[in-house]
Symmetry: C4
């Protein structure tokens, strides 16, 4: 994988990993709109997909509010998060979240970054997020919290370069979710559909845990245990496609792709 010279004003763009089926590009654009419709992202947040035939490339929208993304807004990046085909289109400052996770986790095929509001409290206080129901089963494996301050001191909180992306990916480890203190969270998965599903149900799970916590007021909470989590997550990877089918159908009624 070629590493572009970051400091040079005339660096050449990395080569493309090859053509991606139009349907998959459309699905990625639709994923942005789905996340907006589900309240996971607002004007901010982004979803990416590893290039289906070139593991050292990934696809992500140009810097644009998720609800407005179209297939024409999708840019290809190398794993240093340098655009292959920007053609004047601006990139998200935090694309390094995606690039560094793809580098560290070869099995991950899609990544969602969001500021999903119900999730943020779990990155601010020392109460672990747990899996409240089977749709959020993947959470039962544990939810690490990344505090950018530990390694980088006072910042604007953004994961805006490779070093910060590496640090985030390290905290994430083998999990499929990581919370970012005073910022948001990242969910990933073995398919685009799985990553979107997990981002959506992380937010739903957070809402349910807030109410469970208030209702229980210190009583034990019969959340999924890790084995239940493993079994239900395996099921979700298949059955979750029913939700994707619904969400994709709704987007298709609004656009022609």
């Amino acid at each position: 994988m070629s590493k572009p010279k970051r400091q040079s004003g005339v660096e050449s763009a990395p080569k493309s990993g090859g053509k991606v089926p139009a349907e998959r590009v459309a699905d990625l654009a639709a994923a942005s709109r789905i996340l907006a419709a589900q309240g996971v992202v607002d004007g901010f947040g982004h979803v990416s997909m590893r290039h289906p035939s070139a593991p050292d490339r990934y696809l992500m929208a140009r810097s644009l509010a998720p609800a407005l993304v179209t297939p024409r807004d999708i840019i290809e990046y190398d794993l240093e998060s340098s655009p292959c085909n920007a053609a004047g289109r601006g990139s998200f400052l935090e694309r390094f979240i995606h690039g560094e996770i793809y580098k560290a986790r070869p099995e991950v095929m899609a990544v969602v970054h969001s500021h999903s509001p119900s999730v943020i409290p779990f990155g601010l206080v020392d109460v672990p997020m747990r899996a409240m129901f089977h749709n959020a089963a993947f959470i039962a494996a544990g939810v690490p919290v990344f505090d950018i301050r530990e390694k980088f001191g006072a910042t604007d909180l953004l994961v805006s370069d490779g070093a910060k992306g590496v640090a985030l990916a390290e905290i994430m480890g083998k999990q499929n979710i990581v919370l970012m203190r005073a910022h948001g969270s990242v969910a990933c998965g073995p398919t685009l559909e799985a990553a979107v599903f997990r981002a959506v149900y992380t937010e739903v799970n957070a809402r349910i845990q807030h109410w469970t916590n208030a209702l229980g007021d210190g009583r034990p909470v019969a959340a999924l245990d890790p084995e239940e989590g493993r079994l239900a997550d395996a099921l979700n990877l298949g059955a979750g496609m029913r939700a994707w089918h619904l969400w994709r159908t709704i987007v298709r009624k609004q656009v022609k792709w």
Copy 2:
């Protein structure tokens, strides 16, 4: 009632219980969309109706997100939850919830299964759900909680076969609602309209109880007592049709059936 041989690859489908009026099939499809519009179901969840003239058959959509269901998606099942007329259409994994309740409870004519988010906390902590207002009166009779782990150990949480359906129906007993730990809930009733009404107001009641619990902070809660519950529930079975009329009218504006 013929019991199909589950293990056989060439088992024959059970016979149909006879033709169902198109209007009732349309109402069942509409019930799916109503539950989605009311926030009781999302990409998941299902509603069924006992066959109006064959008590050993029931009707339910093929495996499809509730908001997308049309009358053409309705499949007939026997009480073993084997499809009479699948014709290549997939079935919900959890249809056994429905089949086993119809078997155990001859007076039940409709069943709703959902993951209604405000309800889930009551299946996770030891705080009983109570009837906060007259629309949720049926809750005053008591709300049992089914924990699949007690009998089946670590699972994917789904009620995906007859044995699990039987266990769920046993815990439900004579009530018209049962919570499922770390999963969701089931509501049923003597008519399709009543089951939908109860599913909707179970979710509303849960939201009200969360706030009442927080507001009261340990003070006594003047919920409906069982006798008030009995009287108000009887009334709801008639007056509840006003809500059904509203919901059905809205669906009718969106589809032609």
Copy 3:
């Protein structure tokens, strides 16, 4: 005011108080839809208006979900809540709430009954509702709670006859709001617009008080005092028309009246 013989099968209907301007009837129908759009009523709840030229008559929709009401659904009643012009149209079981308040409170010109969900907890636990901001100023005068059980024992919770309506109006006293235990609430005012405004901001105020209560956790709450309440309520009766103008404009875009 003629008192119809309730038991008689052939009782004659009370006389009409005279023609009401079509614009006012349309406003009353619009008020139903406004309350539905604002989340104050769902399939249930109702709003009425005293007859503008006959103080011993009032106007209210036939038994119908508020979001569906049109001017053709408006029925005239005497203060015994007997319809003057039902013409086969069904009446709300709880119209006695309205009739008895009009009887007891000559200055009240409109009444809203709802099961507004954030309000219900304040009727279930012994924590008084207070005015959290100036829009809900009328609450600062105090919010009585009616428990139907005290006088009538176990019931279906409905105010379904004159005696129950009288008891409710007595508890309401001189206030413009009364909570109904395990049921809902009633708001009234000197104009239709004021009663709708108060019903809407009672619900908003309840939501704000829930969060204030949780945030404060026992700390003092700097709610409006009675004098601030009096001053701000007087202002709302005028300035509140800005909200009515918005809501009425939205209804007008959906219907032709």
Copy 4:
């Protein structure tokens, strides 16, 4: 800057500061609709913009619900909040909030006043609002609370004259937000877009802080510290335009300006 004689019935209107580009007037009208769509304002609340070429003038809609504002509703005011071009159009009673902040804070170019419901509790109990995530970074500098009662005794809570506006601006000091006890809040910024962004994320931040507070139950909260707040706020002034672009695009689909 000419000071009109307030008591005179025949006072002449102050002179206009000159023509404002139609696009900026349209943006201001759109800002009203954006704030309504984002749930920051309802029938009440207002946003203003300092005149782009005359620092002693500002622009604000006539007294009208924010969701209905069009460019034709924009009025120009001097800093005494006297209209230059009312032409029979009514003014908001609380325009003095805007005029007095523009006087006291030369760098402020836009002001939003709202009754944003999640924010109100922080003005009622002694718990400071803190910045829960980077989008609300400007809150990390501190959030003063204005209690109108301290200087003016029992009032209708409105900032309805210059003296009250001066008192509010004094409490606000150098911050870009001030809460108003039992009323609402004010957010301001160096551009129209920044003030709208801050008003929106003040409401979002308040929701997040409510849940963080409930979840933490007394545990430390790792909110943004002032230095993180300063860095992230600087970033938001640029990156926040992505949200404005989304919101403005949505308004543009609904109107022709």
